[in-house]
């Protein structure tokens, strides 16, 4: 396939716009995904992640912009793309009245040379519920079955919409292993998630989406080390005044440290955290008779970056 051999981007989204009832849910979104890489689309609920993925899958028609999957238009060339693209929907989309194994066999029949069902069953631990009706499966079991259905056709591009939602740690581990293997086989994996650890552990490339646009993207390393900042995390028993702490930690001639309440009793201090900062902070708390129950200093995590970018207020 000379066309795909030279293809640099398995997925290329340019200026995508999608409106529902006049309101733009996706508003000028750009995204690329490479073969042999995991691209995570990370964002809060309602950011436009699923709509973007559905435009790539050919399930929704963009109102503006361009989508190319393996160099083809998902609508115009749907028939050519279907055998080459694997899809795991957020709401599963599995027929509910049939046993799990039969459901997977059915999807496999749509392909000429599907993956070995025995191997997939083994890899994703499907055997224990093979004869259980899909309706009766737990959330994690359904997700594993849906992933099996998405990859049974050996896709070149796999779109996984929140693949770890509702999973126990064991299921999640099995899913992550399979995703890594797909990547190593050269598959372009595009997944949406709002789980930071998933993006951090799994993704080669992260696109942070909010309000229907990509507001930051790059490798996890690029995103978290965009500054020399460190994060001090602090849990205290009671009585911590953010404004007073900010003032207490201020040092003339240096950039102010940002003190934030993550949750009552739990705080972060972000910026140029030095050994003297820790000493000053604990001394200041001791003066006020506030007990520190936990204190760690580390690099910024993807979660810090994410919350900085998308805000901390609930919406």
């Amino acid at each position: 396939m000379p066309a795909s051999a030279v293809l640099d981007h398995a997925v290329e989204v340019t200026g995508l716009v999608k409106r529902y009832g006049g309101r733009a849910v996706v508003d000028g979104l750009d995204l690329v995904a490479r073969p042999g890489a995991v691209t995570a689309v990370l964002g809060p609920n309602g950011a436009g992640k699923t709509t973007t993925i559905e435009c790539c899958e050919g399930l929704r028609k963009p109102d503006g912009g361009a989508v190319r999957v393996l160099g083809l238009d998902p609508h115009e060339h749907a028939a050519q793309l279907r055998p080459r693209v694997g899809v795991m929907l957020q709401d599963g989309g599995l027929p509910t009245g049939v046993p799990a194994a039969q459901m997977l066999e059915h999807v496999a029949r749509m392909y000429a040379r599907p993956r070995s069902l025995d191997e997939l069953t083994e890899r994703l631990g499907l055997a224990s519920f093979a004869r259980t009706t899909v309706r009766r499966l737990s959330g994690g079991q359904r997700q594993r079955l849906a992933l099996a259905a998405a990859v049974v056709g050996r896709p070149q591009v796999a779109f996984l919409d929140e693949p770890s939602a509702g999973m126990d740690p064991q299921s999640r581990h099995a899913v992550w292993e399979l995703v890594r293997e797909l990547r190593d086989e050269g598959v372009a994996v595009v997944l949406t998630t709002h789980l930071m650890d998933e993006a951090e552990d799994l993704a080669d490339h992260v696109a942070v989406v909010d309000g229907g646009r990509v507001i930051a993207q790059g490798s996890v390393r690029e995103l978290v080390s965009s500054s020399e900042d460190r994060t001090l995390r602090l849990d205290v028993a009671a009585g911590f005044d953010v404004a007073a702490a900010t003032t207490a930690l201020a040092r003339p001639g240096t950039a102010p440290l940002v003190v934030t309440e993550v949750a009552p009793g739990s705080y972060t201090v972000v910026g140029a955290v030095e050994p003297t900062t820790v000493a000053a902070l604990t001394a200041w708390l001791a003066e006020r008779d506030v007990l520190v129950t936990r204190l760690t200093v580390g690099r910024r995590t993807l979660e810090d970056v994410f919350l900085d970018l998308t805000g901390r207020t609930l919406r």
Binding site: L59, G97, V107, Y111, G153, G186
Partner: protein, 253 residues
């Protein structure tokens, strides 16, 4: 790109797989089986054997009089009620979207659904036909041949209606509408009771409905040995209108 995708199975293999899947799903489901097979058989046995029902059968035996209408009812249960409900819930649960992203595609999905209904109808006709046969029904070869045409025309119209309803209303609403419509059409729509026996204006209305047209077509096939042209026109008209509507209005999400 280093991966070799699995390639699509042939269109025939895909549609065949979907047909089998759809037919098995209906025949495995207890409620669906009740509506599509058990209810028509009970209705037939009841209408034929309960003497308290005083019906003018125009000189025919009761079994000859009622069997065509019961077969028409059976066609409606599988092509309309059962199909509408199954498709509506599949739509809500994302099944239609997921399957349409596999090599099956939307066209293959639709073809599989229609063929799945025809398989179920074959089972229905066999069970009802054999029951009727046991009760003394002896249809002519011409009648049987013509009834296949009537069943195909009726299936086309009612599947279009099922998809129109399933693709536009909420699943719970479809559940209510599909069952209610079946009940109303069965008794007042010229299916079991011939249109000309209905009270007042219903007589004229029923023959214009797809239910009445299918009922008359089945009775024409078995009782007269000819399909009434008017019924064929009505069924084709409904198929065109409902099919057009379904194609335009069906929402996959």
């Amino acid at each position: 790109m280093t991966t070799n995708h699995a390639g699509a199975a042939s269109p025939r293999a895909r549609v065949l797989a979907q047909t089998t899947f759809e037919a098995r799903a209906i025949l495995r489901n207890g409620e669906q089986l009740l509506v599509t097979v058990v209810v028509p058989v009970l209705a037939l046995v009841g209408l034929v054997s309960v003497d308290a029902l005083d019906v003018d059968t125009r000189g025919m035996s009761r079994i000859d009089f009622f069997t065509p209408g019961i077969l028409a009812l059976a066609v409606m249960t599988s092509s309309f009620t059962s199909q509408a409900i199954a498709s509506a819930f599949d739509r809500r649960n994302g099944v239609l979207r997921l399957l349409s992203t596999t090599p099956l595609g939307r066209g293959g999905l639709l073809a599989g659904k229609v063929l799945g209904v025809l398989v179920v109808e074959l089972v229905q006709v066999l069970v009802i036909g054999l029951t009727a046969f046991a009760l003394g029904w002896r249809p002519s070869a011409v009648g049987v041949a013509l009834s296949f045409v009537a069943v195909l025309l009726g299936t086309a119209a009612f599947t279009s209606l099922a998809l129109l309803v399933a693709g536009t209303l909420r699943a719970e609403a479809v559940l209510a509408v599909a069952n209610l419509a079946l009940l109303l059409l069965a008794f007042a729509g010229g299916v079991i009771v011939p249109a000309d026996r209905l009270p007042g204006a219903l007589q004229h209305l029923a023959v214009l409905l797809p239910s009445g047209a299918l009922g008359e077509a089945m009775r024409g096939a078995f009782q007269v040995g000819a399909l009434p042209a008017w019924s064929v026109v009505v069924l084709v008209g409904w198929t065109a209108a409902l099919g057009w509507g379904a194609a335009r209005l069906f929402r996959w999400h």
